[in-house]
Amino acid sequence: MQRHTATEFGRLVKRVEEKTLHPARLNIGSRLILCFVFIILVMLGADAVVLWQFQVVHAQAERLNGIDQKLVTLLRVHASLLEFYAGLEAIAQTEDAGLLVKEAGALRTVALNDIQRAVSSFSLLPPDLQQDPNFLPTLHVIQSSLTSQLETIIKLATSGDWRAVQLRLSNQVRPLESMTSALVEKVDHDAAEQRAETVLNAGRVQRLVFVIVPTTAVFALLIAATLGLAITRSITQPLARLVEGSKALARGEFQHQVTIQGNDELAHLGQVFNDTARRLRDLYAVLQSSEDRLRLVIDTIPAYVWSTAPDGSVDFINRRWLESTGLSEENALGWNWSSAVHPDDLPRYVDELHRAFAAGESMESEARLWRADGKYRWFLIRNVPLRDELGKIVKWYGTSIDIEDRKQAEDALRQAQAYLSEAQRLSHTGSFSWTVPSGEIFWSAEMYRIFQCERTTKPSVELAFQRTHPQDALDLKQVVARASQDGEDFDFEHRLLMPDGSVKYVHVVAHGVRGESGELEFVGALMDVTAVKEAEGKIRLAEEALRQAQADLAHVNRVTTMGELTASLAHEVNQPLSAIAANGHACLRWLSADPPNLAKAREAAERIVRDGQDAGEIVRRVRALFRRAPGEKDVLDLNEVIGEVLRLLRGDAGRRGIAVETDLDKKLPSVVADRIQLQQVVLNLVLNGIEAMDQVADHPKTIFIRSAWESPNAAVVEVRDNGAGFENPERAFEAFFTTKQNGMGMGLAICRSIIEAHHGRLWVAPSQGPGATVCFTIPLKSSEMQ
């Protein structure tokens, strides 16, 4: 019995544990209620068993009690029968019939009442006790036979047959007595049986109760303990996890998540916890990013940003400041920032800072701050206090912005103003503004100087007119009147007559502008050009002198060139002359031969004629070259001019072993130039080239002349040789600079002045390889006409 209970309990605990430790399917409340209901049911069951057992014992006792009553009733019937018979026998002894009749009725009533009582009490007994089949019939037989026997007895007694009465009494009434006694015996026996059984049952029940009650108690206790344990565990474990999670949260580990099992309240709590943690994490991330952003903003704005405690010690400083100054964060905090301030600015700045702190008011200052690159730059520094609700200063916020460029610009502006003023003074240029409607005039310092007025004089249009030379005043007034009407710019030159009688030439330029409100204003400059005017006159004279000198020089050069050409020209004429002489001799010989060879003689004579013409042509060309006086400009074909010169020089070049190559652009339009001068230039350049190649022995000597378009308006002529080249190209144009033994050193200088007089340019081009290249440009006729 004990072992059975133990195994049963073990199974039960296991099952309960499985149910509760496994994913909690039920809420804790339901779980607890179920648990308690289960315990109560177990206890109720145990109680019911006990009650049932008590009921069994009670029924047994009841039955025993009924049997006892039946027995008592039966005994009473038996006793009353006995008494009835005893009474009858007593009367019968007396043999008094009267008495018998008198007494018999009473006796019978008593007996019958008892029997009736017995019957009724029997019917009250539990049905299972009424089941005795003999009992009631016996009683009914007794009841019915008793009355009849009594009447018989009475009759016999009345008849006086006492003997029969007595017989009858003993024969007929006695069996009735034995009947009841048999009944009594039987009932008594039943009663004894029942009693024994009852006692047995009572003992069994007693034993049962002894077992059931403690078993039930222990069982209920164990179940309660197991369930309690299981439930406690199912509650404490998630709780522990929650506590762990909470601690993690407290530490700021927002990514911590609680493991969730089942779907009970703790699971919900865990879910809520996880959600909360997640939301906290998101919130923290948002907070972090917004802080990062703020930090980024603070660190990247082009300014230094810091905050200080109310006493002025720095507790925050942005990275830009640190990077710029090169200080570390520890070095910059506190009061160390002062090392970054220029020593010259520091006392003033600290003083201003103290004053601001004392007054509790914002401050603004400028100071030079150190930069890591070793330079100080100007900064605009601002400090602003932050107050709490009570108005107490809790922090100071500060910024500084680089204003170095602005400072420099200011300096530059100041300097520029100074320069402008100086420039005006030096250039004798004054500036002015004139607001037409109000007549208000501003003059720069130089204006006062030019007009020879005191600085205190108030400038006005009238003052300007007053100083103007009387001959120009009218014109000026007209110009000013027109300008003030239509607002157009004006540019005017006039004279001033000074109080001392001297005359100044001034040039006024003014530009009209409309102000915001539409009023007309002139801004302008007035330049004292007296010196320029005087200089212009001098220059004109000098230029004329120069032109004359150039013409003279050109003449000298031409003569010199002719001298240089003489040898060449002599040779040029000599050739045909030699041929003529030789041909003449040959002709004579052919004629004087025997027989005369007339054909040969004729050929020789023809050659004489031809060569004579050649010689004449050469003379004609030379004359053409120097025929006219310079100074007359004609429409010329540039290539023709070059060709004339080359024809003159080709022979000379050939004799010197120089090949003459040309590349002349046949499509070049005409130029307008002095033929003689242009020839002189080409002649000079080609002769220079030829002479430069005198010493050349290692390569063929070539002189190359090219004409081409230089631009739509100008032609270029290039003369290139492969001779010695220029050692110093620019010096080549200096007058009297020569590398020739018998040169004057004027050639290129004169060529350049001739070309420049024709609005062209002449220069030495850098040349590849040996030799020199000299180029000149000359405007084409079309552009000359424009």
């Binding site: 002599a570 030789a582 041909n583 050659r607 031809r610 060569d611």
Partner: protein, 210 residues
């Protein structure tokens, strides 16, 4: 005309002068060939006959003096220079380099023709000498190296014995060499051999090899 007929070459860049000279020279019965430049002249086939070169001092491709220098290296004909404007330095140089005459233009025909004649005579003589020398050289080329070694001793008048001593060989060997030299050179006597070696420019004092 046979090959001994002299020829006159005219080199002048001026066609007028060229033509006139050709006509003049041809009129005295000389063969004449004209060229416009030195290069043309150098390129041309020249007959193997006595010749004269009438050369302009200034030519387009090179100067007459240069051409003279080039021709002097070979067997160029004697040169008569003509020039349009001759200067003294050029004429001196030309004459020093062996020019026959240096005539400034315009020149007289007699002077020119005389100079041409003189030049042809000179060239004829020169050609003769050159052919003689060529003959000698042909003989000389037949000598063995050892014989050429011995020859200077012979013409210097060394005795065989002395020569043998100097050359480290026997007197008899030198005698044999001597005979071969005389035979190969076609010399009839020692005196003739000496003249020949003079013409060939062989030094009479033998170079000692040791």
């Amino acid at each position: 005309m046979n090959s001994d007929d002299p020829i006159v070459f005219v080199v002048d860049d001026d066609y007028r002068v060229r033509e006139a000279l050709c006509s003049l020279i041809a009129s005295v019965g000389l063969r004449v060939a004209a060229f416009g430049s030195a290069a043309e002249f150098l390129k041309s086939e020249k007959p193997d006959s006595p010749a004269c070169l009438v050369l302009d001092l200034q030519l387009p491709d090179r100067s007459g003096l240069e051409l003279q220098r080039e021709l002097a290296a070979g067997d160029g004909p004697p040169i008569v220079f003509i020039t349009g404007h001759g200067d003294i330095p050029s004429s001196v140089r030309a004459m020093k380099a062996g020019a026959i005459e240096f005539l400034p233009k315009p020149f007289s025909e007699q002077e020119l023709l005389r100079a041409i004649d003189a030049a042809i005579v000179l060239d004829r003589e020169g050609r003769r000498k050159r052919s003689e020398l060529a003959e000698l050289q042909k003989h000389y080329s037949l000598l063995t190296p050892r014989e050429r070694e011995v020859l200077p001793f012979v013409v210097a008048g060394f005795a065989n014995k002395q020569t043998a001593g100097d050359l480290g060989t026997s007197e008899i060997t030198i005698g044999v060499h001597r005979g071969q030299i005389m035979h190969k050179m076609g010399a009839g006597s020692l005196a003739e051999l000496v003249r020949m070696s003079d013409k060939l420019g062989i030094a009479r004092t033998p170079g000692r090899s040791k």
